[in-house]
Every structure is written in structure tokens, then in C-alpha cells.
């Protein structure tokens, strides 16, 4: 029960979507049908909670640990890169009835925040780590993502004689509340995107003179929080 390679949706979900010439590749279509199947199962479980009278008091969270690339930025799968197709994931939270929070939220969030949200929702006394920001409180200032541990997959490709491409290296990113995103690569490359105007990350602003102050500010923020990058051991 997962949306994953080998992109194999079960019968009944395999032909929900029809592919037209020039549209998404076949794998992406299969992947989306896997997701449709998952949606179906999750909704089925939610109906079960409702039928049992448990939904009102349940904190119900649906999310994913990563997205999937289909060549939008050279990478396929989800092992490499921190582009949005990998890190911009669904997050659906149905709070217990006692929490009057509904609708959609544009706030910046990351998976760590689920921890603080759950603790706060159930009134757990444990201290909330600084890295986790509850969805029931003020939004986070900066979202951070690291994809550092890629060596094993690189070796896997080397062993099979596959080409080692420029994106097959450690990288990390920071996104601020204005949705400006900095990507840092272990070989020193920097990319900057204005996600509000360019959610598909098609125009790299890192070299644009008008964005240098913003680039520098994000570099300082990410270094202050995660330390310098790359570390010597991460340099490709």
C-alpha cells in the first residue's frame, strides 16, 4: 500500500487516467493512479473511524515522506535533489472536534512540525524540540531540508556502470516565509527560486543582481542553523 516504484497500481485503478500524446510520461501516470488508490484506502479508513464514532476525537494526519521526480529537473525517483517535486508534499490534518481549525493554510511547514502538533494536540507534557513548530501556534520562519546521505546510491550506480550525473551529490535547501528558496549543492553550486512566481523552479535567480541580498541572507540563515556546507566529507 504505497505510491512507489515499480509504479504498479492495482486493477481498478490502472486505467483511471488516460495518457495523451505530449503529456506526462507513462510512469508518472501510473504513479498518480497509485496515489488515487491510496486516497481510496485512506478515505475508507476515515469512513471506518466515522462509522465507529471515533472521528470526532481523532487527530487524523495524512502526509508523505517525500514526493517523486519524473525528470522535471533531471532527477527521477526521490533519492537525489531537493527540488519541489521531491519535498513539496501533501499534508492533510483533521484535528479533533475540540480544535476549531479548518480550511487550507498557506503557512510554511515541514514534517518535523507534526511532532510538536501531536504533542500539543494531546496535551503531552514532554518538551517540544526547537526544530519542531506546532501547527497550532505561530508559523515557522524558515523551512529546512537536507539530502546528504546519497553515497550508497551513487555507489549502486557506479557498480552498475550507470552514468554519475551532476545532481547525484549531497544538497540542502532553505525556504523563507516569502517562499524564496535557496538550494546548496556539495560542489558549491547555488540556486535561488521565487516559489510564489515560479513554483516549478524554472528560473534560477542566484546569478541575478537584484537577488544577491536575498541570496546572502538565506545563506547566512541556513549556515547559522545547519552549519557550513559542504563539509569536507560531502564534497564530491
Amino acid at each position: 500500500m504505497q505510491a512507489h516504484t515499480n509504479y504498479n497500481p492495482p486493477p481498478g485503478f490502472r486505467h483511471l487516467l488516460a495518457r495523451h500524446a505530449g503529456e506526462a510520461p507513462e510512469n508518472e501516470l501510473l504513479y498518480e493512479q497509485e496515489i488515487a488508490f491510496l486516497d481510496h484506502l485512506i478515505y475508507d479508513f476515515y469512513l471506518f473511524l466515522k462509522e465507529r464514532g471515533l472521528a470526532e476525537e481523532t487527530l487524523f494526519i495524512v502526509t508523505a515522506d517525500h514526493g517523486e521526480g519524473f525528470g522535471e529537473h533531471v532527477c527521477t525517483g526521490h533519492v537525489f535533489c531537493v527540488y519541489n517535486e521531491i519535498i513539496h508534499i501533501p499534508l492533510v490534518v483533521k484535528f479533533p472536534a475540540a480544535v476549531s481549525l479548518t480550511g487550507t493554510s498557506p503557512r510554511l511547514t515541514q514534517l518535523h512540525d507534526i511532532f510538536a502538533t501531536v504533542l500539543e494536540s494531546v496535551g503531552a507534557p514532554l518538551p517540544v524540540p526547537e526544530s519542531s513548530v506546532s501547527l497550532l501556534g505561530p508559523p515557522r520562519e524558515l523551512a529546512l531540508v537536507e539530502n546528504l546521505d546519497v553515497a550508497a546510491t551513487v555507489k549502486y550506480h557506479e557498480k552498475r556502470g550507470n552514468p554519475i550525473l551532476p545532481h547525484m551529490q549531497p544538497c540542502r535547501a532553505a525556504i523563507d516565509r516569502e517562499l524564496v528558496k535557496l538550494i546548496q549543492w556539495a560542489d558549491g553550486r547555488r540556486e535561488l527560486y521565487d516559489l510564489k512566481r515560479d513554483p516549478g523552479e524554472t528560473t534560477d535567480l542566484a546569478g541575478h543582481p537584484d537577488w544577491q541580498t536575498r541570496l546572502l541572507a538565506l545563506e547566512q540563515e541556513i549556515t547559522a542553523r545547519l552549519g557550513p556546507f559542504p563539509l569536507a566529507a560531502q564534497t564530491p
Binding site: A124, P125, L126, P127, V128, P129, E130, S131
Partner: protein
């Protein structure tokens, strides 16, 4: 007495503390590291004694605690007007290679200082924040335990508290605690031998595991 609720557990701890204070008047102290367990114990004494801590508070300074621990210790000592006795093994701090030999390091910087402090102040009993569920080697100890290096009684009033009980107590009484717990630490020791809480779920997983294995020997030397 069945200890079902947090209030039951608090009552038991206070009964142990009450007995200890009556058995060792003027000759008892509380060992306070600045961590959550000994701070809870300290707060229990304070609650029991009408908002003040009427006994000396021993803090072992290994010189390599986290800065946040020192800051917390000094702030709380001021706010709660503690009779704080900071003790250290100056000679070992100068000559010892910190954390190279874990047993020797803990013995010189902690166990020996505890023993010296007991002798120096003539204390017959020492209250600690030990808990049964924290470490297997601690699972068989009792509320009052005789020690012979030097002869004294260890008083362990929160043995029955779980980690969650500690946080429930801290939250319900608004007890101050060290900011390191917000950074992901679950159990605080000296900086060179303490890491963030590990995802395997064990509270002391962030503590040096070699030392955890030799805890029996360390306890025999007077460590808590």
C-alpha cells in the same frame, strides 16, 4: 501503597523525603545535577518544606558540563535561594584527559568528589534523583540504601517516577528546567559524553554507552 496516579507517586516521594529529613537532621544534603530528575527531586523538597529548600544542595562541577546547565544551575540557585555547594576535583581537572578512560574520568570527577563532599561536610545521607526505569543497573535499588565509601545513606525518593511522570510533574508544577531539553536531549551528562536523544527510544541512549555498560562498577564507586 499502590502508586497508580502521579499524585500517588508524589505522595510516596514526599513520604520518603519526610522520613529522610527526620532521620538525618542537619546531616543530609541533596545532589543536584541540573537535570530534570534531580530538579524534580529538589522541587519536591521545596514543596514539602513550605517553599524553601532547608538543606544543602551539592553540585558536582566536572568543568565539562554544558554551558546551558551552568546557566540554569546558577539562575535557579539564585531564584530559589539555595544553599549551593559546588564541589570539584581541581587536581583531576588539571591533569586528567577528559573522557579518555570513561571509568577513571567519572570516578575522579564525580564519585570521588561525592565521597570527599560527604566527608568534608559530615553528611550522613545524600538525596539523589535516581529512577528505576532509567537504567537496568538502577532497577534493583531501594529508597534508602547504605553506602560505605564513606559510610552514609543514599535517599532515592523518585525511584518510581517514569520519564513521563517527571515531565508531567514539571509541567503541572511549572518547574523550571534546562533549555537543552528543547534541543532534543533527553538525559544530560557531561558534554563530551552526551549526545542528543537517539531514535531507538531509550532515554539514556544519548549517554556514552561504554559508561552505561560499566554502571555497576561506577555505582560501587559511589556514582549515582
Amino acid at each position: 501503597m499502590t502508586l497508580k496516579t502521579l499524585e500517588d507517586k508524589i505522595a510516596k516521594s514526599k513520604a520518603v523525603l519526610q522520613e529522610a529529613l527526620e532521620r538525618f537532621p542537619g546531616a543530609i544534603a541533596l545532589a543536584w545535577t541540573g537535570g530534570k530528575d534531580s530538579t524534580t527531586t529538589l522541587h519536591l523538597v521545596r514543596e514539602l518544606c513550605g517553599g524553601q529548600v532547608p538543606i544543602p544542595v551539592l553540585n558536582i562541577d566536572t568543568s565539562v558540563k554544558f554551558p546551558e546547565i551552568y546557566e540554569f544551575r546558577d539562575r535557579l540557585a539564585r531564584e530559589w535561594q539555595l544553599d549551593l555547594r559546588i564541589e570539584k576535583n581541581e587536581e583531576a581537572i588539571k591533569t586528567l584527559r577528559i573522557a579518555e578512560d570513561k571509568v577513571e574520568c567519572c570516578f575522579q570527577l564525580k564519585a570521588r568528589v561525592i565521597a570527599e563532599s560527604l566527608r568534608k561536610y559530615g553528611w550522613q545521607a545524600l538525596i539523589t534523583g535516581l529512577r528505576w526505569d532509567e537504567q537496568p543497573e538502577r532497577a534493583r535499588v531501594d529508597y534508602f540504601e547504605p553506602y560505605d565509601t564513606p559510610p552514609h545513606t543514599r535517599v532515592q525518593p523518585i525511584l518510581h517516577f517514569t520519564e513521563l511522570d517527571i515531565w508531567s510533574y514539571i509541567r503541572s508544577r511549572q518547574v523550571p528546567y534546562c533549555s537543552l531539553y528543547h534541543k532534543g536531549y533527553r538525559s544530560l551528562g557531561c558534554a563530551p559524553c552526551t549526545k542528543m536523544g537517539a531514535p531507538d527510544g531509550a532515554e539514556r541512549a544519548g549517554r556514552d554507552q561504554n559508561k552505561e555498560e560499566i554502571m555497576k562498577r561506577l555505582r560501587a564507586m559511589g556514582y549515582f
